[in-house]
Amino acid sequence: MFKQITQLIAKDFLLEWRQKYTFFGILLYVLSTIYITYLAFNQIIDVNTWNAVFWIILVFASVTTTSKSFLNESGNKQLFYYTLAKPQAIILAKTIYNGLLMIIISLLSYLIFSLWIGNIVENQLMFISSMLLGSLGFAATLTLVAGISVKAQNNSALMAILSFPLLAPMYITLIKVSSFAIVGTEWSNSLPLLGILALLNIIVVALSYLLFPYLWRD
């Protein structure tokens, strides 16, 4: 099981390295969205606006990143994988891969965002920890939703409809924590919320582990 997971993750990274398609595509997407924001706003100094624009960009970036998750594994290839690996190994490997990808992308977007739009965050550690938990959570939820929507043929529209309500608990918590981090309030205010984010991550990964086998078999 563990060996299968590591091999599957290595396969995903190898494919990505050969094609250099998803990662640079998303990077360009983030870059151009942030640049458009810059053209419209120049610098943002208002807490709510900064927060809202940053998270909207990150949510859409993560939906774009993960929506293609199972495109390589459809049709006959899926049957081939089915004979090789356990479905639990496949979903965990995809979740870990997407999580790593999302962490890199969110850190890079934070960097680019700070460069152009300006950085008004008081408590950097609090903000970055909430961002990392958030990107892991987005990746986990969206990988599972991508698994669902690839089964229902018309997947790109369905992906958005299914994922936004499911992501809501996460992004509402995230927006709250990051507004605390921007203003620079005490850790005691934000720790319970970070705890909820961690709990949501665990719940979503557990659900993927339990439910993906039912999606996978046809």
Binding site: I148, L158, L162
Partner: protein, 205 residues
């Protein structure tokens, strides 16, 4: 007695006579949660045996639950207009309710987008379980750590604290039967709809 019965007022803040909305607004949510829980149970049963009749039950219970969810939102909006001064407030419970309704509307869209029966049932069951678990986190865990305008949260007194003599027990006498009545009505409607679906299926076969 009854709906016209004495209610504790005007000591309890700005609720006045609208406190009677308690008989409608709160049971709507109880009914919705009850029906969604039943729908979850049927989805799990479907996944453990792949019997399509459980899928139909889960679908109809979720549909009926959404009707009650929408009525819960409407009664809540009327109440919010009166007590908080606006139709909608950025409150953690309102967000939770809105998100719950949205995620189940997505469930119906997902169902309609798949034609093959067994596959539809399986994928819908998986989504139903995910949506339910996240909704429970959102509706029951998140309000515990954030403030809410609702009674019993963020320093607002719960309804049980509005106790002044026998007026409150008057309300209880109406409230508890109202809860039981609405919940039973919800399950009854879902049951009838389920039976209509079964008959239609028989007629086709």
């Amino acid at each position: 007695m009854g709906f016209k019965g004495n209610v504790p007022q005007p000591e309890i803040g700005n609720l006045d006579e609208t406190i009677r909305n308690l008989y409608f607004h709160v049971p709507m949510w109880f009914t919705m949660i009850g029906l969604l829980t039943a729908s979850l149970a049927n989805s799990i049963k479907y996944l453990s045996g792949f019997n399509l009749s459980y899928d139909i039950k889960a679908d109809e219970q979720a549909k009926t639950a959404m009707v009650f969810g929408v009525f819960g939102l409407l009664t809540g909006m009327v109440w919010a207009r009166f007590t908080w001064g606006d139709w909608w407030a950025n409150d953690v419970k309102l967000n939770g309710a809105a998100i719950a309704v949205l995620s189940y509307l997505a469930y119906f869209v997902l169902r309609n987008s798949i034609n093959e029966q067994q596959q539809r049932a399986r994928i819908a069951a998986v989504y139903n379980i995910i949506a339910y678990v996240l909704m429970i986190v959102f509706v029951f865990v998140l309000p515990r750590v954030t403030d809410s305008l609702h009674p019993g949260n963020g320093g607002n007194p719960a309804f049980s604290l509005y106790d002044n003599g026998d007026l409150n027990s008057n309300m209880r006498m109406v409230f508890y039967p109202a809860v039981a009545g609405w919940v039973l009505m919800g399950f009854w409607i879902a049951n009838i709809r389920k039976r209509i679906r079964f008959i239609e299926k028989e007629a086709q076969a």
